[in-house]
Amino acid sequence: MSQHPYPWTGRDLSRRTLLSGFAVTGVAALAGCAALTPGASSTPAAATGPVTTALPADKKIMLKVADADDTSMTPALLEAFQKKHPNVTFERQYTGWDDYLKSINLTMSATTAPDIAQFTPGMQNLIPGGLLLDVSAYGKAYGWPDKFPGLDQITFEPDGKTVGTGALYGVPGGLSFEGVYYNKAKAAELGLTVPVKTVEELEALFVKAKAAGELALVVGNLDGGLNHPFNQLLSVYLKPEDRTAWAFGHKGATIVLPEAKTAAATLKRWVDEGYISPDVNGISDEDATAGFAKGKGVFRISGNWAAAAVAKGLGDDAGYFSMPQATADSKIRTTGAGVYYCVSSKSANAAAAAAFLDFVGSEEAAKITADAGFMAPKADAMPAKTGLLGALQEGWQATVRDKGLQPFIQNASTPTMGDTLKTQLQLLAGGKATVDEFLAGIQADFDNYHK
């Protein structure tokens, strides 16, 4: 014990040596900082010149793909495309949704950016940085406007803040949309006549269910799931142009409108009257779907992504109808999104990437997309399904026919709207905010970003 293993520690390491050591470290660190000056070039990539729709067959092409699609769609689409074009290979990099959202902007800024990436809310920030490829020219050459619904959701002005006008940055692969699931057994037992055409009639069914001691509408708002019925009610009541302007972040747009107030007041009434569980703020959206699939409650407003779980849980008792509208003869308007693919401006094989984007809208792709539980861009090419999936498919075809697909208000309006809407919906449902305060709260986030 008397022999210290490190005899040079202590006195002979002079204070000066130590200090100079630290100084060197500090200087190195500062130099490092300067080298790490953040940010990409702010010059947007030059618009693409003449483009080709031909894919070179002799050259070996490797495309890197980044996505957060946890279904079988993306891998199956890649495989099918590769089968058609054997000289093209893919290197797919899958990331879970939350992590993808938070990391994709950095991934796309890297010199090794993927050629094709799934477009997610927040990626509009990449547009002023010139990191996404403007595919308008490819769109024109391939005729994408006739092949894909929902292209407006991935069309941006150069500032990246205004959606719906400007240049095209990608196409949707699988689309999703929302409607009303119901428990057929319970509906029969309670004597509810479904489907219904108007929100008023739907609410009358809620009243009956409540009177029979049933939970009328299953919702979980721990992570903001009330946004599903709210988005739907906005689709029902808000004028489409007001909805588009706000959801797409157009300058001067506002949601403090009488129609939006009707939507929010309807939602609040559903909570206050007990059609929605008073515990709604403590239930996650996922648990709400799981509970409904296990037989809890009578109705659930959600998207086609929940279909598999509901069909599995309720079996033949799983029912679905399109979202009721303001009046019985209204066109169907509903909220939806999709798995959109975009192309990196750094891609050396943009033509091949564009060929893949075009393939996504094909008849062949429609089957793959439908099998994965999504709605295909080419709605009439989807293989016919029966049961719950058949009902969903009918709803989708009607939605495409009525051109009724509208964006979620939180996806494109501002990058922080997801969190803000969640917070405000919790305040509204918890009785901590009035309808007016709720609308003012989400408008404040909008004004803060689009000032």
Partner: protein, 318 residues
């Protein structure tokens, strides 16, 4: 310390070399003052890693806090503007209050439980202590994300807490605790207590083993009961351990993120928002990297100040 003093190079030179050193080359055997640069060489790996992964990112955060940056496009210099925004933000004040409240659950309660537990165990040592320690320490080993998800089930509408309440005939009080504006912060805080208490207990247990048993025996001879023994012997003699526990747990409370993120995400409303959540939202969702960095710098400074003050206070108490 004695070993350290003896082992200075001069002392080492005077010492008779052990046999193994005779076989070393002559040059190495000669007592010689080693150049200080050798010390730096040995320090280099640690210093390099620490600099690369801790010092540099910290400085970089400070540097970024001076910019308006969305994380992608070119940033614009903002000076101290971000710091002005940090102090003007009413949401941040709420977050600070919540983090302060969490200190009760992450520090005060666990230290109290730890002290009482350690005192009970220290009085009567029994077999099987290793097992008990392991069980109590277990929450520390489980990743916080798993802890959060597990407790989400416990607090859920049909979770264990409500099942127990209903069994006890208190079904009226049953609710989804994490969704309640009144209870969410308390519910999240108690998860923290559950996680940290084991750490405190193990820390204090190892401390009590350092306390001479004769002191306890002497106090018992003088007629001290368990309470007196606790107040007059266990607590004062465990002061170094308490200081360590306080530092660790206060940092855990003020810098908390993962637990809140996985349980409530800051909700309902903003009732459980803490600075860590705000930083995350601003930097990764909100495209306000500069503001988030400024907030991170301020949070770090506040934690430093509080922990240093606490440590000083504890050391100074006679």
């Amino acid at each position: 310390m004695a070993a350290n003093r003896l082992s200075g190079p001069v002392a080492a030179g005077r010492r008779e070399a052990p046999p193994i050193q005779r076989r070393l080359p002559a040059a190495r055997r000669r007592p010689r003052r080693r150049p200080a640069s050798a010390a730096l060489l040995y320090l280099a790996p640690a210093v390099l890693l620490y600099t690369l992964f801790t010092v540099l990112p910290a400085l970089h955060t400070g540097y970024l806090s001076l910019f308006d940056w969305d994380g992608v496009t070119l940033p614009s210099f903002a000076g101290l503007g971000n710091y002005r925004l940090v102090f003007a933000d009413p949401q941040l004040r709420a977050a600070a209050v919540h983090a302060g409240t969490l200190i009760i659950f992450f520090s005060a309660l666990p230290i109290l439980f730890g002290l009482v537990g350690a005192a009970l165990v220290a009085r009567h040592r029994r077999r099987g202590m290793g097992f008990v320690r392991t069980v109590l320490f277990l929450p520390q080993v489980v990743p916080l994300v798993a802890v959060g998800i597990m407790w989400r089930w416990v607090y859920a509408e049909d979770g264990v807490v409500n099942q127990v309440l209903r069994q006890a005939g208190l079904g009226e009080a049953a609710q989804a605790w994490l969704g309640s504006f009144d209870w969410a912060l308390l519910a999240v805080g108690l998860i923290g207590t559950w996680v940290v208490s084991g750490l405190c207990l193990v820390l204090f247990l190892s401390g009590t083993q350092r306390i001479d048993r004769e002191i306890y025996e002497a106090s018992r001879m003088d007629g001290a009961g368990p309470v007196r023994e606790f107040v007059s012997i266990t607590v004062p003699l465990l002061r170094p351990e308490i200081a360590v526990a306080l530092s660790i747990t206060v940092i855990a409370a003020l810098a908390s993120f993962d637990l809140i993120y996985t349980t409530t995400g800051g909700g309902p409303g903003n009732s459980t928002v803490v600075p860590g959540i705000l930083i995350y939202r601003l930097a990764f969702g909100g495209g306000a990297v500069g503001l988030a960095s400024a907030l991170a710098v301020v949070l770090t400074a506040v934690i430093f100040a509080i922990v240093l003050t606490l440590n000083r206070l504890i050391r100074e108490v006679p």
